[in-house]
């Protein structure tokens, strides 16, 4: 009986988190279009619903009813599996993200603000993020198209390269919190914004943000899908629901990396001042995520795109050494202090 209740609670949490994430993904596309158009002197979606608010639904419906095309010569199994391989890692990471402080108590049932508190939470997310690169590579390869192949190769190279400095940037917060668990990490940053790890690890934060943008294939690092040269990159040949799975994964990843940035550097659900603690932690968490997402969109409106060789040079010659030095200095200082 106990186990049944536990399973029920976990399922409820999963539905809640997934529902929340997918709603956010849908409205993130809307927000992106609206913010971009505001920055570009135009209106953006206005037709569907008031101020185009129902646009994500219309887009979803349209994609759902589109014909699902598998190109001749494509490897059917891999071609179908690739979008799933990309989407699942993007969504699975949310399992360990602590969204708030207090558990919800209903009678004897306790609902935690996270699905699981893994003691290797960060590692778990990074490991799954790497699997996403397989989906991209296989999707590009199985399409039997040169554009998709080039896009897939680029993307895989980019993801693997940028994962290194990304992981190394997270070493700082891990050392400071002395834990890989995202929950412990958040709790270690309690008591005002000057305890947040961004204050002691600004370099790591900048490296993390840059790598996160590269990891999610967004401007200025959106080469895998650079539409001016590779049409749409690795998902050139995809259509309908399969295409939308890639799309969901991209935006899901954006939210996921923002979640990690918030937890590792911006104090998670902690309020910046103790007198502001009357605002629920979940609101703080969301506010910080929205801020980072806005930053992504803002960046997209501002900068042009890098070239592939420049991107790789930047990663291996700038980001990686910086991240290594940062990790080294942090460990030495940490050793001396304690």
């Amino acid at each position: 009986m106990d186990i049944a209740i536990q399973i029920g609670v976990v399922l409820f949490q999963i539905v809640l988190v997934l529902g929340g994430v997918l709603t956010h993904v849908a409205y993130l596309t809307y927000a992106e279009r609206k913010v971009l158009s505001d920055m570009q002197d135009r209106l953006g979606p206005m037709e569907v619903g008031p101020h185009g608010l129902l646009q994500p639904l219309a887009d979803g419906l349209k994609l759902f009813f589109k014909e699902d095309i598998i190109p001749s010569g494509a490897n059917k199994i891999i071609f179908s599996a690739a979008p799933i391989l990309v989407l699942v890692p993007a969504l699975i990471g949310f399992a360990v993200v602590p969204f708030g402080r207090d558990s919800l108590q209903i009678g004897s049932i306790e609902i935690t603000p996270y699905i699981a508190d893994l003691n290797i939470g960060v590692l778990y997310i990074l490991a799954f993020a790497s699997i996403g690169a397989y989906g991209i590579l296989l999707g590009g390869w199985a399409s039997n198209s040169k554009y998709a192949l080039l896009g897939g190769l680029r993307s895989a190279a980019q993801c693997i390269s940028y994962e290194l400095p990304l992981g190394l940037a997270l070493v700082g917060p891990i050392l400071l919190a002395e834990s890989l668990s995202l929950k412990t990490m958040t709790e270690a940053q309690g008591g005002g914004f000057w305890h947040w790890f961004i204050i002691v690890q600004p370099v790591a934060f900048v490296i993390y943000m840059i790598c996160a943008i590269a990891e999610t294939n967004r401007l200025p690092f959106d080469l895998p899908e650079a539409e001016s040269e590779l049409v749409a990159g690795f998902f050139t040949e995809y259509s309908g629901m399969r295409f939308s799975l890639f799309f969901l994964a991209e935006y899901g990843n954006m939210i996921l990396v923002s979640c990690i940035a918030v937890v590792a550097f911006l104090g998670g659900w902690q309020a910046p001042f103790s007198f502001l603690e009357f605002i629920p932690p979940i609101i703080w968490f969301l506010a910080k995520i929205y801020f980072l997402l806005f930053f992504y969109i803002w960046l997209r409106a501002t900068v042009p795109r890098l070239r592939f060789d420049q991107l790789m040079t930047f990663c291996w010659k700038v980001m990686l050494p910086l991240a290594l030095v940062n990790a080294l200095v942090t460990s030495i200082v940490k050793y001396i202090v304690t």
Binding site: D41, R42, G73, S228, E229, V231, T302, P304, L306, F308
Partner: protein
């Protein structure tokens, strides 16, 4: 051969793509043959600015060979012209470089006027220069927006189109059209600048330099933009001349040649302006030159508006120009006169002429052979886009796939003009 047999012959294996791949692997694997990757870009590609097809031979992402295939937009403008009267050709020239139809009209009517040896009234010259420079602004704005979009800076595109829209609105007030304008006439222009247009133009020119600065804040010192344009598609002054490049593409390499200065037409010799010149001949120089030319064009328009004299807007030569409109509705002879010019056109004396005009993209030349009569015997167009395509491979070789579109955009190629 019976029907069944023919049908059997065209049946292919279900996954013939897969089989193809396998046999390919078997054939190449033992010999370890290395092949360049052949990539067909276009004619339908999001950013080839029309229907251009390029076949790229690549080693990884580096371009070994880039062969452009033209002709997807060929409409036979030159041949059509042989069966049209001179005034019927003006709308055809609109469709050459459809982003800058005014300057195309100008280039054509200038060639015909040279053959006819007519003097254009002063006000008409001023109006022509103003309109041509407005078109240059619109053309360069269009170029800047699309070039930035190709490199990924999306916002610049919307900003430049915002200003271009103002100019197109003015064109609409002036001649009723926004894209294919057909505004110039042999011997003058179609309609006069009204006070409304002059006022709106002044207002536009007040804010325009600030707007150019706005685009530049997003690009000029942006490290990514510099990285994408500096030292890309470098062409030396010698090569640029050999390939016959003109316009900003030639001046980017530092060659001081601008027809507006070399053989002044219109009123370009009556106003003060400078020809911006590049040093290295890379994409950045060409970008800088176009931005600078926009500032110069604004200067030219402003001076022309200040100096704008009163007077007729078309030459008073009944053989080639229409009678005044109010007379057509009241006077029998004028009506007949109008009808004759509209239906039969006018005769042009025997002779040959080449006349080059500086359009936003370079030198647009019209070579007309006339054997008398109201139609040209032969009309040959020298489109800058087509000549620039010739240098494309020279400039693209050795750069990366990501640079292809940048290189393509840097000459400001429009396929309508390239294929004619």
């Amino acid at each position: 051969m019976s029907m069944d047999e023919t049908q059997e012959e065209i049946i292919r294996p279900d996954h013939y793509g897969d089989d193809d791949f396998d046999t390919d692997l078997e054939r190449t694997a033992p010999k370890k043959r290395v092949e360049d990757l052949l990539l067909n870009m276009g004619p339908q590609h999001p950013s080839t600015h029309g229907v251009l097809r390029i076949v790229l031979e690549m080693e990884g992402e580096i371009i070994v060979k880039a062969t452009p295939y033209l002709g997807y937009l060929h409409r036979g403008v030159e041949k059509l012209s042989e069966n049209s009267t001179y005034s019927q050709i003006i709308p055809l020239t609109d469709r050459l470089d459809y982003t800058c139809s005014m300057t195309n009209n100008y280039a054509f009517v200038r060639a015909v006027e040279k053959l006819l040896q007519v003097e254009i009234p002063e006000r008409a010259e001023y109006v022509r220069t103003i309109v041509a420079e407005m078109q240059r602004l619109a053309g360069h704005l269009f170029w800047l927006g699309t070039q930035a979009l190709d490199i990924g800076a999306m916002t610049v595109f919307f900003y430049t189109f915002r200003e271009r829209e103002v100019l197109l609105d003015l064109f609409e007030v002036l001649c009723g059209a926004r894209l294919t304008m057909s505004y110039y006439r042999v011997g003058g222009v179609d309609r006069d600048l009204t006070k409304e247009i002059v006022d709106r133009l002044y207002k536009f020119l007040e804010t325009f330099p600030e707007n150019v600065d706005e685009y530049n804040t997003l690009l000029e010192t942006n490290r990514i933009w510099l990285g994408r344009t500096r030292d890309i598609a470098v062409i030396s002054a010698k090569d640029a001349v050999s390939f016959g490049l003109t316009g900003p593409a030639l001046r980017g390499s530092g060659v001081n040649y601008d027809i507006r200065k070399a053989e002044p037409y219109g009123v370009y010799d009556k106003v003060e302006w400078e020809v911006p010149l590049g040093k290295k001949g890379d994409t950045y120089d060409r970008y800088w030159i176009r931005v600078e030319e926009m500032r110069q064009s604004a200067k030219i328009i402003k001076q022309c508006l200040d100096q704008l004299p009163e007077g007729p807007i078309a030459v008073d030569l009944p053989t080639i120009t229409y009678p005044p409109r109010d007379k057509v509705t009241t006077d029998m002879e004028s009506l007949i006169h109008h009808f004759m010019i509209a239906t039969e056109g006018f005769d042009v004396p025997e002779g040959e002429i080449y006349c080059g005009t500086e359009v936003p993209k370079g030198e647009l030349g019209f070579y007309i052979v006339s054997q008398g009569g109201n139609k040209p015997y032969r009309l040959r167009i020298r489109p800058p886009s087509f000549i620039h395509m010739g240098a494309f491979e020279h400039m693209a070789r050795g750069y990366m796939v990501s640079d292809i579109i940048t290189i393509f955009g840097t000459y400001d190629v429009v396929m309508g003009e390239c294929d004619r």
